[in-house]
Symmetry: C2
Subunit: 711 residues, 2 copies
Amino acid sequence: MKKIHLLLILLSVFTEAFTQDKVPAVTMGNVTLQFEITPDGVPGYSVSYAGKPVIKPSQLGFVLSGNDAFNKGFKITGINTKAVDENWRPVWGEVSSIRNNYKQLTVHLQQEGGRMLDIVFRVFADGVGFRYEFPKQPGLKYFIVTDELTEFTMAGDHKTFWIPGDYDSNEYKYSTSKISQINNIKVVTDATDIAVRVAPDKYAVQTPLMMKSADGLYINIHEAALINYSSMQLHTDTALYKFTSSLVPDAVGNKAYLHAPFNTPWRTIIVSNKAVDVLASKIILNLNEPSAIANTEWIKPMKFVGVWWEMQTGKGTWSYATSVDDINADGSLKPSGAHSANTANVKRYIDFASANGIGGVLVEGWNTGWEDWFGNWKENVFDFVTPYPDFDVAELNHYAASKGVKMIMHNETSGSATNYERQLDTAFKFMNQYGYPAVKTGYVGRIIPRGEHHDGQWMANHYLRVIQKAAERHVSVDAHEPMRPTGLHRTYPNFMASEAGRGNEYNAFSNGNPPEHETILPFTRLMGGPMDYTPGIFKLKGYAPGLPDRQVYTTLAKQLALYVTLYTPLQMVADLPENYALHMDAFKFIKDVPVDWEDTRIIEAEPGDYLTIARKGKGTNDWFIGAITDENARASTIPLDFLPKGQTYKATIYADAEGTSYKDKPEKYVIKQYAVKSGTKLRVKLGQGGGAAISLTPVTKDELKWLIKYK
Amino acid sequence: MKKIHLLLILLSVFTEAFTQDKVPAVTMGNVTLQFEITPDGVPGYSVSYAGKPVIKPSQLGFVLSGNDAFNKGFKITGINTKAVDENWRPVWGEVSSIRNNYKQLTVHLQQEGGRMLDIVFRVFADGVGFRYEFPKQPGLKYFIVTDELTEFTMAGDHKTFWIPGDYDSNEYKYSTSKISQINNIKVVTDATDIAVRVAPDKYAVQTPLMMKSADGLYINIHEAALINYSSMQLHTDTALYKFTSSLVPDAVGNKAYLHAPFNTPWRTIIVSNKAVDVLASKIILNLNEPSAIANTEWIKPMKFVGVWWEMQTGKGTWSYATSVDDINADGSLKPSGAHSANTANVKRYIDFASANGIGGVLVEGWNTGWEDWFGNWKENVFDFVTPYPDFDVAELNHYAASKGVKMIMHNETSGSATNYERQLDTAFKFMNQYGYPAVKTGYVGRIIPRGEHHDGQWMANHYLRVIQKAAERHVSVDAHEPMRPTGLHRTYPNFMASEAGRGNEYNAFSNGNPPEHETILPFTRLMGGPMDYTPGIFKLKGYAPGLPDRQVYTTLAKQLALYVTLYTPLQMVADLPENYALHMDAFKFIKDVPVDWEDTRIIEAEPGDYLTIARKGKGTNDWFIGAITDENARASTIPLDFLPKGQTYKATIYADAEGTSYKDKPEKYVIKQYAVKSGTKLRVKLGQGGGAAISLTPVTKDELKWLIKYK
């Protein structure tokens, strides 16, 4: 990332002896932050938007180990303020340039006894970020956080879109309820399709938490720059509509081991009276540090196909033999014949990718160990360098290279992070040896070190160690089953994608995702960073052998639209080549759609209902639009205001065919082309669970001869 | 190790349908083992010695996770027996050839429901070993041990020599009490000199546990070949004189994660009516597997000096700066001037070693991180490759090589095993690069992964991983603060020594070790393997600046004797060169004494009272004797029966001077030489806390001219 413009206005930088209990409010646009401290010295804050309360007075602080209160008895010893207005360029992303414009308030606190704590607020026009900073000080060097007491007291019984606060999984369907109705017991109990569920607090929900108030505010709570700390989940006080930070504990119940000086992650509150502003917010990215990687030229966004959906749907297997006990006289495994990651099959995917401009091929199940990998809390599962006998790693990487395609590595850890760490050097050297530019990691299973959780501090450090090691080796990372992202891809742009949510795969091995799912994800999971959702399923029913009722709860056109609405720079093209072969006209949209964008406009959005986004490809004049809806059919009007005036574009509209819905004929679509201009308002009809995908390219002279002008 | 002789007599190998509940007893010499099974199908056993009960009927079995009883409902489906009589040669050790002579009984058990368990007993003339074997079977594949139920029901209220069953430390003083009086609360509470103590069961004691019965039996309980399992501690039923296996739990309370087929460690019961037989027993070594290392020529026993005692006593420091905050303007540490591991000081040790035929020099505190290494449960403490600015690693290894001395590496982990594992490759490559043939590892502090313990299964695997990695790199290991050894040095002869007990160092930083301590260690801690006790302190008082009362509770002569009585192939010469310089006549014994032996004779022994051992140097005709006593003075008569008939020897006797004791003039000694023969009975007087060291070399003609014949 390069900082292209810096306008830093130091409004006032001072540390004064501060005797009043009232610190001046800080306002940016409609957003006002007020810091407060009680007579007992408990720090707190409140946030309002255009005069409406967003966060009512809420307390701040910690309990440290030994029941040591670090949330009261504070006095303000000074404040600093400053203002920043700068622009920076991400290596890849939804826009090519990001403005970072905020006012900062730092409150210096000191406890009786001398211990110090700073609380730093950054107030943006679309929300607030704040974090705790523990200065270097004699009285607080190494310390253990027993509890973080950060409160978010909401102003009403808002509508919320939540998943349980589970220490090990983000892969739940979303529940929509009032704050007062939050209770995750039934959700957790029923989620038998999730392998590992640990959700001891029935009132805990995960962040990003999306809310809508009765008076029309859209509010999102999450965190930014989670480094060397536990994930923040939210404990709900259903009577007071109050959320309190609930950090994921370690094996012995502690929340974080810290060493001053230390800054916690930022707690973020994004707020607007327009839902589209929440999606457009760059607060979380702006609160992360600039790239720690100097040379980022090797980091390449791309689409990829993969030997994966055939295993998810049961057509093939990850494993080479039926069971670990299915062996020949010499002890070697007996091939079952169903192993998908075989050289011939992988070459088929390479050929398909090459023919269609898809940059990568991901192969899961290539390395030994899959007969016996899951569910036993087994430490030494995979070695990450030993292929099955039918997978010729050298030949395949050579073949892929000859076809202009890159192979993507797969390292499943089975949750055994210790085993992976012992072999990181070996694993990444292997990737370098064979030219793999990216790795998909996996953490399916209970974590080892035993007692640790996917979302705790130890694993936060683990995921980052993997990303850092990968960066040293010029490998990009797509992490599956990690903690949900917090914008760290600004600092580590090789951390290109992660799962940490309920992906399209649930349509393969469970009862799937409801039609509203993809309209909620951008407001929740994706707030922190790109998601490897794996869109692009064209065969929407009948793909799971022996399970005729299994289906994807979208139309085919909606699958296309997801390439615009669910952003990631490593984007899967998830279905099988033979399923695409039947719809190559629709597949053209997937071929054409970029994975790196110059600009993005959120046209319309309502969490749980619908979403329309337009994006301009980086380095091109082409725009792409994705529009999706939930279980309700919808007529969407899309004003093409963003097109440059005076330039006629060819709009190619991939829409649900008449009568198409996720229930009926979901694979029916129509493709139409028109000449459009900046003033045009496109009208598209989305079936139930449907969508529309639109590409907009400047017309050629020849096209002008035959294109009909859109009316 | 080479197997030099194999005499394998298969008495009977059969698997028969076994319908009786009584399995024939197995007897070797005085030892008889009886297997039994109750009408409820609970397996059990008893052991007797010359008709005296040693282990009264005691139950066997497990509880598996889910409160799954795997200790009852068994039927015997068959038995196998065999007998073995073979000899093998250890790579190094107390003797050059070891006889392994036992009768084996395997009892095949099957539970209602079909699950199988084998219990294998090996009966030796000096005791019994048994283990559980989980055969490969459909009904038991991966499983978790919640509790091992192995009982050792003693036949009386024996005198015991015990330390608490602590999950993290073996560094206690020994308590001597009746079984009925075992209670570790006060011992644990008072042991403030031990950094990490976790002993939740007040009735738990550590093994090896030494006992003496009222009817004159010496009984020792321990385990052999502890691999991929937790340490066995013993819970005491003080009313029934019964010990039950108490496995050290992991972070979530489980005892072991197993995968059939699996064999547990051997549970060992050594018994004799002579204390010396316990010390001479090779049961634990014999129950370990032969060397897993094919080429062992690079494994070299040696003595070593070290920049260590000066830090232990407070004369110098491990750290380079006084504190991590003591830094210069450029952020570099300000040297305190007290750093012992500086190039000039280390050269002094190299010079001393070279001049006196000492093979190695250990340097602790050479690498950065010591300002801030302990007590904070900090994960990333050391990197194992970055020397302090005043330690020139290349120059020192070059200098040592030029003097014929080897440098010994030091890797302190601070208990952060995860951090060490991540850097093992790097650390061992560094040792290879600079020619270090051995590493002293350290685990001072609470373990990371947090919630794990020094003595649990995860750490058992960790210690072995380090040993295996070291073997690949041709490095020998001296592990400090590990779990206590179980004879694994037979299988991994590069695992040359470990601490896992209360070493001489406690005389430096605490109130030290009582005079009886070294008479108990061989019956307890050393039963499992060599101990890096670090003997050889010559300055026995006044060595700790500012602490005039601090002292070593032995005489100087006893320090010499420890080189014979406390065996290890990596033996420290622990005091400072300047302290040796004042007693170079006594130091000659340390120069002369070997660290690898052809033969060993335990002359006399009583745990807690006294011990006299004679050993013959490997590849020489020289014998060395060490005699030590507890807080009581003692006259010892040592018959030199082991000398070859007809050969006159020169005996050099290093003895306590008249009136010398650990309290008065402990550094006074006399050295006398005589001509002796096989029939000679040497009489030596040991002061309180005293000892005597004797070397025996075949006389030269010239010596015969002047030596006085011993009378």
